[in-house]
Symmetry: C2
Subunit: 222 residues, 2 copies
């Protein structure tokens, strides 16, 4: 870490919020315990397919399209209304158990804190309100502001600019190796949250900080 961060940018899904309710619902709907993982990986791939082919369609739409493809792959029927039902669970996710304590420590340290998600602004607002962690953040950001998905450099630099910060004093905190790689390449500091099943990307630099959860990251920072 080359300097103390003045702006912390938190990834949302998996980093702060526990996707388990969606995972259970999708695995049940497709009767396979790897269905959710398969779908989520496909959703991330296709979000970048949109960006790289010069289009933007919101994360919910790409999520529904890829869930349909995943169902076809697993040879399961899934109705449009069932797709809508399981995807709506994204708005009703609990924070991971370490999150409130970790965010409280950081908030009390006086650092600026924002969240940045591939999801839409409408969804992230609903998520933060449901998880009751909205009061920790100075601002919420969606990639829809720049119409490019993470880890496009603009997704990070837009937030930095809007917050009148500098990349070298800003830090992305995420449980995804690809998000860490992108933020590094956009010139930010990074903290990798090594939640179960999440691993750093071997072709990226090591993150400035690694911790098993938000509380341990908070303790490293204050």
């Amino acid at each position: 870490m080359h300097s103390k961060p003045r702006l912390l940018i938190f990834d949302v899904n998996e980093t702060l919020l526990d996707l388990k309710p969606m995972k259970v619902a999708i695995n049940n709907a497709l009767a396979n315990e790897l269905a959710f993982d398969n779908w989520f990986s496909s959703l991330l791939h296709y979000s970048l397919v949109e960006s790289i082919s010069g289009k933007y369609q919101d994360f919910g739409k790409v999520g529904a399209a890829t869930l349909k493809m995943t169902a076809e792959k697993f040879e399961k029927q899934i109705s449009e209304s069932k797709i809508k039902d399981v995807l709506s669970l994204i708005k009703k996710l609990p924070p991971h158990p370490d999150v409130v304590q970790g965010l409280t420590i950081l908030k009390n340290s006086g650092v600026k804190m924002v969240a940045l998600t591939n999801g839409t602004m409408e969804v992230v607002k609903a998520q933060m309100a449901f998880a009751e962690i909205d009061h920790f953040f100075d601002e919420l950001f969606s990639v829809e502001n720049v119409k490019q998905y993470k880890p496009h450099p603009l997704t990070y630099t837009h937030v930095v600019k809007e917050m009148k910060a500098s990349p070298i004093y800003s830090m992305l905190i995420a449980a995804h190796g690809w998000d860490i790689a992108g933020a590094q390449r956009a010139g930010l500091m990074t903290a990798f949250v090594s939640r179960p099943g999440k691993f750093p990307y071997p072709l990226a630099e090591e993150a400035d900080i690694t911790g098993s959860n938000i509380l341990s990251i908070a303790k490293s920072l204050v």
Copy 2:
């Protein structure tokens, strides 16, 4: 289809060549029948992570990095030499059983035929020689020419330009919904090969032609 294609651009892996030997090896190495799918999806995602964050590292390197992450996720040990071994199988893949007959029909029709892969030039040359289908193609192309992964528009338009063709008289033939979406958005005609487990991307236009294999695509074209 708005006009008869004068240049056919074939995707390689899964479209022409059967990845089954790699699938078996990776599923065995990680003791899970969805390990290969999980890895391949992650490889495609991370290849675009490289492109969108402004970097290029070759497909073999991204393949090894993501296989390591997949092994960690499945809580299995996999040595560097084992990774090398299973990834080297990419050079020893059989063509799908319909491929030689389909390519023969198309070649006899006099249309120009090339292949375009996310893999390196070295790998695609070895693949074509091993599968004994190299003589069907006027040229082989790798995305390393433009240092962007498919479906970046440049990957397609570079081939079209090199072949002195026009996008509207060129057709991409692929078993991947994301590849079809990208080629469409770059102005090419498209043929989707609906191999088992492969489905079109619902947010793309319908392909100009759909067929269950290369032979049926060939019959639609001549």
